[in-house]
């Protein structure tokens, strides 16, 4: 019979066979009830949700402490730099006059390196 079918008939034949197979495929054992599955999902949800909330609550003081520590460190650094600016800038100026540009350029890179370091630190924390 299949020899006389047009190529398009393959689709009808395969679809028919599959639907036939589907109609005959039934579980011999009873499936769990909807209520059982719903409650199982609810229990899973509560078990998963609770530890996440607790972890977040426990970590909150540590996160605030970390941020406060970074802010304090920055404040101390800025204070120190503002107080010591004349003492730092004077030898820098002398060096520029006496030592030339390369050494000044190297000194100029120091704040850039410090800023990069701080940036990396913040990125890692976040």
């Amino acid at each position: 019979m299949s020899d006389t079918l047009r190529p398009d008939d393959d689709e009808l034949r395969v679809a028919g066979a599959l639907r036939q197979l589907a109609a005959r495929t039934r579980s011999t054992r009873p499936l769990p009830t909807a209520g059982q599955l719903w409650w199982r999902a609810e229990v899973v949800r509560r078990l998963v949700a609770k530890p996440e909330e607790e972890t977040a609550r426990k970590l909150r003081p540590a996160l605030w402490g970390e941020r406060a520590g970074i802010a304090l460190g920055l404040a101390v650094l800025l204070g120190f730099l503002s107080l010591q600016a004349p003492a730092i800038l004077e030898p820098l100026w002398k060096r520029m006059v006496l030592g030339g540009l390369p050494s000044v350029a190297l000194l100029g890179l120091a704040p850039l390196a410090a800023a990069s370091l701080l940036g990396l630190l913040f990125a890692r924390r976040s």
Binding site: S2, V14, G16, L18, R19, T25, S27, T28
Partner: protein, 183 residues
């Protein structure tokens, strides 16, 4: 595909879920049974799929979307189980052989040409054919469920259909015997 609901309560209320389950569970079991070849595996994956669906599905999504999302979850879970078993056992070929044996032993009345012809197809081919011709999903939906591009579904479906037709010919499953039936 259905949007997901990761926060708050379950995606469906108990009554709404009962209705959804009544309308989908038998068909999903049949899909899993024929795709995986093992009734016990179908039982496991079915339960796991609904539990996952309840935790993730957006209640505002449409019924058809929810259904497609359920099939996507089930297909992924089955695929994960295959991968896990493939790592544990020797390889895919021996695994597929084991499934066929398990399926035949556990479901003796279906030990017929049609079943064995279907089992000889690749798992993805079985999934695509079933979703297209039993569940009536379109190419876009099948792409979402199986995890391939929409354009690929057309080609894969064509190839799978030809292969299935050849298998049916080989097993001499006649057109009269398995004539198309109304859906």
């Amino acid at each position: 595909m259905a949007r997901t609901n990761l926060e708050g309560g379950l995606g469906l209320g108990e009554e709404e879920f009962e209705r959804f389950y009544a309308g989908t569970s038998a068909a999903l079991w049949a899909y899993l049974r024929r795709l995986g070849g093992d009734p016990a595996l179908a039982d496991d994956i079915l339960q796991e799929s609904y539990v996952k669906l309840l935790g993730r599905v957006d209640p505002a999504s449409e019924e058809r979307e929810k259904r497609a999302y359920l099939y996507r979850i089930a297909t992924n879970l089955l695929r994960d189980r295959w991968r896990q078993e493939r790592r544990e056992v020797l390889g895919l070929s021996s695994l597929l052989g084991r499934w066929e044996e398990r399926g035949r032993a556990a479901d003796a009345p279906l030990k017929v040409d049609l079943e064995s012809a279907f089992q000889r197809l690749e798992p993805r081919e079985r999934a695509i054919l079933w979703l297209a011709y039993v569940e009536g999903y379109d190419h876009r939906e099948i792409a979402g469920i199986v995890g391939v591009k929409e354009g690929s579904v057309r080609v894969l479906l064509f190839r799978a259909r030809k292969k299935a037709a050849r298998e049916l010919d080989r097993k001499e499953v006649s057109h009269e015997r398995y004539a198309p039936t109304g859906r």
